[in-house]
């Protein structure tokens, strides 16, 4: 059957740690710190809205842009929380999660061989999405020494050297939990705007921040027209399985993204869209989840550091990116050994970029008792 598979798909690098994932999925009695989604179930009011919408017979297609009411609510939310102004008619597109929003944005923007700058370590789908669209990835590797943060002067140098058309930004970051203050973003903005590139800003973790308020990239001066802002409901509202998010930005790009969407997806599920409207009125539940993540973060970061795994305090999301350098093992070896000997799962750092073999991603989206048990097992392991 091999001959039927398209070459560019065959060439798409398979995730190097698929084999490790299979090991974890087969293993029994595992305490997993390897999960990239909340352990909370979607708040009941949101689930109830989904149920009642089905009872009322909402089972049809919606506009390719998504339901107007949802777009309007998104516009209100962004205005109220971030003072962002997006026109629900032409500047907002409802997507099946940020994953689809990113794919649409890349496809709408990238010509064959156009360069897209990625900031590593990054979420695994970014390079794949760029490659699928025929683009070329420009790699910018942040370092542990610099706290895995973008250094504006280095960014400037890379943009100058490779002249990328677009850049994918993600903060708070999966896998590092790194985020940026307004002042830091302002410096990045200056470099990016000078470079004349469009920013695809994946801000899916915007609601999960610790002790500071998130600044969206399009909230900075003169960035709105040059940013595709990607947000969603998966993480903050614990709605991963609903597959629902949104893209906001320049009306021309949103129009082209909507065109692609009309051909390949039509629209996200109407059930999820209606649930999302309800979600936008569920800030109380979101705040309670964030308070719980905050406590778990305090706990796990303290424990990992005291066990000898150097770990920064994440500023957002629910991950720590811990150093395993002192063990002398590669990240995959470490993860395999830890799984085999003491049945704790973490994600090897190499999944997020080839230079991160000395790190593992530890998710604290697990109940406190699980974190405690995992710490006990890791202590036993070392």
């Amino acid at each position: 059957m091999d001959k039927f598979v398209a070459k560019h798909i065959k060439d798409l690098a398979p995730s190097g740690i698929r084999e490790f994932f299979d090991l974890v999925l087969e293993a029994k009695d595992v305490v997993s710190l390897g999960v990239g989604e909340p352990d909370f179930v979607t708040p009941w009011s949101i689930r109830e809205k989904a149920l009642s919408s089905l009872e009322q017979g909402y089972t049809s297609y919606t506009s390719n842009k998504g339901m107007y009411r949802l777009r309007l609510e998104i516009a209100h939310f962004l205005k109220k929380h971030y003072s962002l102004n997006y026109d629900p008619d032409e500047e907002i597109l409802v997507t099946a999660g940020v994953s689809q929003g990113l794919d649409l944005a890349v496809r709408a923007i990238v010509n064959s061989k156009d360069r897209v700058l990625l900031v590593y370590p990054c979420y695994v789908s970014y390079p794949a999405v760029v490659n699928l669209a025929g683009g070329k990835v420009v790699e910018y590797y942040t370092s542990e020494k610099e706290g895995f943060k973008i250094v504006p002067s280095k960014l400037k140098e890379i943009i100058k050297r490779y002249n990328p058309k677009a850049m994918i930004l993600n903060y708070p970051s999966n896998p590092t939990g790194v985020s940026y203050t307004r002042a830091e973003l302002e410096e990045i903005r200056r470099v990016v705007m000078k470079g004349g590139i469009i920013v695809l800003s994946d801000e899916i973790y915007d609601l999960i921040t610790y002790g500071y308020k998130h600044t969206p990239f399009p909230g900075l001066k003169r960035t709105k027209q040059k940013t595709i802002y990607l947000g969603g409901f998966s993480k903050g509202y614990a709605m991963t399985g609903f597959r629902i998010g949104f893209a906001c930005g320049n009306r021309q790009v949103i129009k082209e993204m909507t065109k692609i969407n009309a051909y390949v997806m039509i629209c996200p599920s109407i059930t999820s869209q209606l649930a999302a409207i309800e979600a936008l009125n569920s800030q109380k539940e979101v705040n309670a989840m964030v308070r719980e993540y905050t406590r778990r973060r305090n706990y796990i970061v303290g424990e990992l550091n005291s066990l000898g795994f150097k770990t920064f305090l994440p500023e957002g999301a629910f991950y720590c990116f811990s150093s395993i350098k002192h063990t002398g093992l590669s990240s995959v070896e470490f993860a395999k050994e830890l799984l085999k000997k003491d049945r704790v799962a973490v994600v090897p750092g190499s999944a997020f970029g080839k230079r991160y073999n000395d790190f593992v991603r530890v998710s604290f989206a697990s109940p406190f008792d699980d974190l405690k048990e995992a710490v006990r097992r890791i202590r036993n392991f070392i």
Binding site: F21, V24, L25, A27, V30, S32, G34, V35, G36, E37, D39, Y123, V124, S125, N174, R291, R295, R296, N298, Y299, G302, E303, A345, V347, A351, F368, K372
Partner: protein
């Protein structure tokens, strides 16, 4: 402080050490704050929420009892309420607006025990004008906790 209460409300058995780690405070500090909360009466007591339906021979009968009473001069409802809530059979006692005055929840080992309490102790009180007892058939949720066996984890154990 709210942080400590939020943790304790969900798990009163958490150790001081863990509580300190979770809230990013020193153990001594947490201990002091808890003492203060206890002294002020903010933390009233620490108890386990037990689903007695799952205990063999441990099944109890619960009754909600509506009580109409005559309030007394100067002390209003407080005096008669106290006379009633001091009975150990009374687990909860609320003064309500509406068609009756006090709502009690009463626990006993069987219907007879509860009926006997109502007939012999509660109803004969001079200020009690009438009572209506409702026996509870099933408890679904108590103190914000759904009384069902925990569901298994539905997440994949590893994802990006």
């Amino acid at each position: 402080m709210e942080d400590i209460l939020e943790v304790l409300e969900n798990n009163a058995r958490v150790s001081l050490k863990d509580l300190a780690k979770l809230t990013g405070k020193k153990e001594k500090e947490v201990e002091k704050e808890i003492k203060k909360l206890e002294k002020k009466g903010v933390i009233v007591k620490y108890k386990a929420l037990i689903n007695k339906n799952l205990i063999k021979d441990g099944k109890a009968v619960y009754s909600l009892i509506e009580v109409k009473v005559s309030p007394q001069k100067d002390v209003g409802f407080d005096y008669i309420a106290e006379r009633i809530y001091r009975f150990p059979e009374v687990k909860n006692c609320y003064l309500l607006s509406g068609t009756y005055d006090l709502l009690l929840t009463v626990e006993g080992k069987d219907i007879n025990t509860v009926a006997k309490f109502v007939a012999e102790k509660l109803a004969p009180l001079a200020e009690v004008k009438s009572t209506v007892s409702h026996f509870m058939l099933k408890k679904y949720k108590e103190d914000g906790v759904i009384l069902k066996m925990p569901r298994e984890n539905k997440r994949l154990s590893i994802t990006y």
